[in-house]
């Protein structure tokens, strides 16, 4: 499989800074992951190779149990690989975590219920010792970005699920990370909110120029957001295909508007990803039909 995307990352990306162009945002080489459980060893990931360049938006898609979340957790250093090599901006995953090179958002917003919206967004800044005044102005800026300025003093349980998720995304962007890891962040949202959040995320990714690794099991979501879609298959989890998104005129971040959702190039890519999923999981009819159903409704 190809390590480099045929779709070059966005042209406005400042790739020349400090020679970062040569260093991959994430480089995964021959990674395996086993989990020891009560019922024996589970082979969660097998021989994963993946290269992600700075500024690139990559989605990991596949049926439940294909290890897409596990792969993201390995990159985040929340788990460690059983074998193989994994670097983030040329460092070990642990060093990248300690250096705060990535921002992260999960399927659950994971806001601290005793903190206000503003205090939740400020949490990483507070932990890393940013001065109070700078922190406040950064939080104001972030809440503006996700359109929640009026809700700064509310508590999480006074917000809808979509708003909570936006707070979580603002929090993940707090330290202007060059890499954003997102594990099904819109998984629990209704369709309307979900599309709105996708459009917002495309805009935010364009504004910040961060590379994004986005775990999802929605095909249209992956197509709409990504430069490349990594299709995974389960038992053991492995990459079955990497599909570059050829969206014609709409390949640039700024062009990914709601009109794209109705463009023929979009549907062509949805079909391609879906076929890649079916091919990769032909032995898993249950998972397959679930995915195709999902593709129709999303």
């Amino acid at each position: 499989m190809s390590d480099h995307t045929p779709n070059p990352p966005r042209a406005h990306e400042p790739m020349d800074a400090a020679g970062l162009a040569d260093v991959a945002a994430v480089e995964v080489r021959g990674v395996d992951k086993y989990f020891e459980t009560a019922s024996g060893t589970v082979h969660a990931l097998e021989a994963i190779d993946l290269n992600i360049v700075p500024g690139e938006f990559v989605s990991l898609i596949g049926p439940s149990g294909c290890g897409k979340s596990t792969l993201m957790r390995l990159i985040a250093d929340l788990d460690t690989p059983s074998a193989g090599e994994l670097t983030v901006f040329g460092k070990t995953a642990t060093q990248a975590r300690l250096d705060q090179d990535y921002g992260i958002a999960f399927q659950q917003a994971g806001l601290l219920p005793w903190r206000t919206v503003a205090a939740n967004v400020a949490l990483p800044l507070e932990i890393h010792g940013m001065a109070s005044a700078a922190r406040q102005s950064r939080v104001t800026e972030l809440l503006e970005m996700v359109g929640l300025s009026e809700f700064a003093d509310r508590f999480p349980d006074q917000l809808s699920g979509g708003m909570q998720q936006r707070v979580a995304i603002a929090r993940s962007l707090a330290e202007q990370p060059r890499l954003l890891l997102m594990d099904e962040p819109f998984g629990a949202l209704d369709e309307m909110t979900r599309e709105k959040m996708q459009t917002d995320l495309v805009r935010i990714a364009a504004d910040t120029g961060a590379a994004v690794i986005f775990v999802t099991h929605s095909i249209p979501e992956a197509v709409f957001l990504s430069d490349r879609v990594v299709v995974m298959s389960p038992r053991p989890g492995r990459i079955s295909q990497i599909v570059p998104m050829r969206l014609g005129d709409a390949a640039g971040r700024e062009d990914r508007t709601d009109e794209l959702r109705e463009a023929s190039a979009f549907f062509a890519m949805v079909t391609e990803v879906r076929e890649a999923l079916h091919g990769g999981a032909a032995d898993l009819l249950g998972a397959e039909s679930r995915i195709s159903r999902g593709a129709e409704t999303r």
Binding site: D77, L112, P113, L123, Q158
Partner: protein, 283 residues
């Protein structure tokens, strides 16, 4: 709270028990009744008690009448007040020290599994140590004129529920929050201050509320077993020993008031601290 139904006309004193169940009361009436009902019930009990002693003729020696108890309370007021302050101070110090040690040990037990395994049997043992046995030992250890033994007993009694509740609270942190703190490379101090302690806060406060009554009872009972005179416990004992039962009862009334004060104070603390914190977690 169950829905209480009764006619909305009467909030009259003492009529709560005979109410017919037809209509829901307004919240205002409901909250007034919540205060009025127990007070009127208490007054009825006191009335029956007084009636038993002065009309039916139960011996004052066996059961002093409320009137004579109040008389003693008024007569020995300054002694009652100073005794209450003394016992109250011992209880408060014990509660504070017990809380601090309980929370600190729970933090250790939550952090290191070995500490938990080591402390579990000790805590279980502490929970059943009889004050009868401990008080004389501590009194002779720290001298007959020291309050320290009583304070230590109150501390030990408060330690147990606070430790158990806090440890449970420390284990309530959600995986997503722990992942988040790890992703932020938070050190263990930051983790404790920003995640573990706030998560455990309602549990800690419940522990303190339970411990507050225990601290008062233990400090009071410890006074029965030697040490300096002057606390409520020792005055109850000496009054009873000199057959001044009404006076003994007056000190008992003061003890009840002290216990209630501790309970209400910790309840208020719990309400105050948790008021701003929404109970529903974030999704």
């Amino acid at each position: 709270m169950s829905t209480r139904t009764a006619p909305n006309s009467v909030v009259g004193a003492g009529s709560g028990s005979g109410a017919k169940r037809t209509k829901t009361w307004s919240p205002r009436t409901e909250s007034t009744l919540r205060i009025v009902a127990p007070i009127s019930f208490g007054l009825i009990v006191l009335g029956v008690w007084q009636f038993l002693v002065s009309v039916v003729g139960v011996d004052e020696y066996l059961l002093p009448s409320p009137a004579s108890i109040i008389e003693e309370l008024v007569q020995f007021w300054s002694s009652v007040v100073s005794a209450t302050i003394l016992t109250g101070t011992n209880s408060l110090l014990g509660l504070l020290v017990g809380s601090l040690i309980g929370i600190a040990f729970a933090a250790l037990a939550a952090r290191w599994r070995i500490a938990d395994q080591m402390s579990a049997p000790i805590v279980a043992a502490l929970a059943v140590v009889p004050i009868v046995a401990l008080a004389p030992v501590l009194n002779s250890m720290f001298g007959a004129d020291s309050q320290f033994g009583r304070q230590a007993i109150a501390a030990i009694a408060s330690f147990v529920p606070i430790f158990i509740n806090t440890l449970r609270g420390f284990r309530q942190t959600k995986p997503v929050h722990r992942d988040l703190m790890k992703a932020y490379a938070a050190n263990s101090g930051q983790m404790l201050r920003r995640l573990t302690l706030p998560t455990a806060r309602p549990f800690i406060l419940t522990g303190i509320r339970i411990a507050s009554s225990l601290a008062v009872i233990s400090a009071l009972v410890a006074e029965y077993f030697g040490g300096p005179r002057g606390g409520l416990g020792s005055l109850i004992a000496t009054s009873a020993a000199s057959s001044a039962y009404a006076r003994a009862w007056a000190y008992v009334v003061a003890s009840i008031a002290l216990g209630l004060l501790f309970y209400l104070a910790t309840l208020a603390l719990e309400r105050l601290v948790l008021r701003r914190v929404p109970t529903g977690g974030s999704r």
